[in-house]
């Protein structure tokens, strides 16, 4: 396949050629750290986070237990599907890509959680659970749109 092979490049490329090459390299890196993810992944994560939030209405010991198991499960699913998936070793996390999601979670879940604790109204944890699930699913929609797999 002659078209597959490339001879050694000689000479500096033009600005436009350099831009094309840099874009190709960045796209390849981006596609590696942002793999295609199915809706199943985001639904699992949404359910796990909602369960962790809703479980905070339970007695303290049970709430802590569910939170611990739930968070471990969230991290495990993330590691298996994103950071240590088949065909790759450990993949670098996309810190800047996760930033908006973390901010959204702090706002949409953190505020209801704070109110639930501050006013000692356990039912508000249900609001936090719904917000956690909705935020995660919305992140999934945006992520899949970004990776052209909507």
């Amino acid at each position: 396949m002659v078209s597959d092979m490339e001879t050694q490049f000689t000479g500096d490329p033009s600005s436009a050629a350099a831009r094309r090459m840099l874009d190709a390299a960045e796209a390849a890196e981006h596609a590696t750290i942002n793999p295609p993810l199915t809706w199943t992944y985001f639904v699992i994560q949404a359910v796990l986070l909602a369960v962790v939030c809703a479980a905070q209405m339970l007695p303290a010991a049970a709430a802590r237990g569910v939170a611990l198991v739930g968070i471990v499960a969230v991290v495990a699913v993330g590691i298996r599907w994103v950071f240590y998936r088949s065909g790759y070793g450990v993949v670098l996390p996309d810190g800047t890509g996760a930033y908006p999601y973390l901010i959204a979670m702090i706002i949409t879940v953190g505020i209801p959680a704070g109110l639930a604790l501050g006013f000692e109204q356990p039912w508000i944890w249900l609001v936090a659970a719904v917000c956690a699930a909705a935020t995660t699913l919305d992140m999934g929609r945006r992520y899949r749109k970004m990776t052209n797999r909507a």
């Binding site: 000689t10 090459m21 390849a28 890196e29 065909g87 790759y88 070793g89 993949v91």
Partner: protein, 97 residues
């Protein structure tokens, strides 16, 4: 910041993509690289052989799920060369804008 050094070996489009993918992970398997790049086995093997010969890529043969796999990872020298090359590309772009 890496030193901006234009690397003629890495600059070839497919080799640049191989290095970019390998730079984002601790290793990548041959089959995954082939699927990502959409090239023949022989073409990919030749690119990899050039990068290995230059000390930019490491090869490791492993068995997973009962099948032989070839894992490829950037060496420290390869990582430095890739980052230096992308820095050089940025310099070229910046110089003409």
């Amino acid at each position: 910041m890496p030193d901006a050094v234009f690397d003629e070996l890495i600059h070839a489009p497919q080799r640049l993509r191989i290095c970019a993918i390998a730079n984002a992970a601790s290793f990548v398997e041959f089959g995954e690289l082939q699927a990502r790049l959409g090239v023949s086995k022989s073409a990919l093997s030749k690119h990899i052989a050039q990068l290995v010969a230059s000390g930019y890529l490491d090869e490791e043969h492993v068995t997973r799920d009962g099948r032989a796999r070839l894992r490829l990872s950037l060496t420290p020298k390869g990582r430095k060369a890739y980052r230096g090359h992308t820095a050089a590309l940025r310099n070229i772009i910046a110089a003409e804008t």
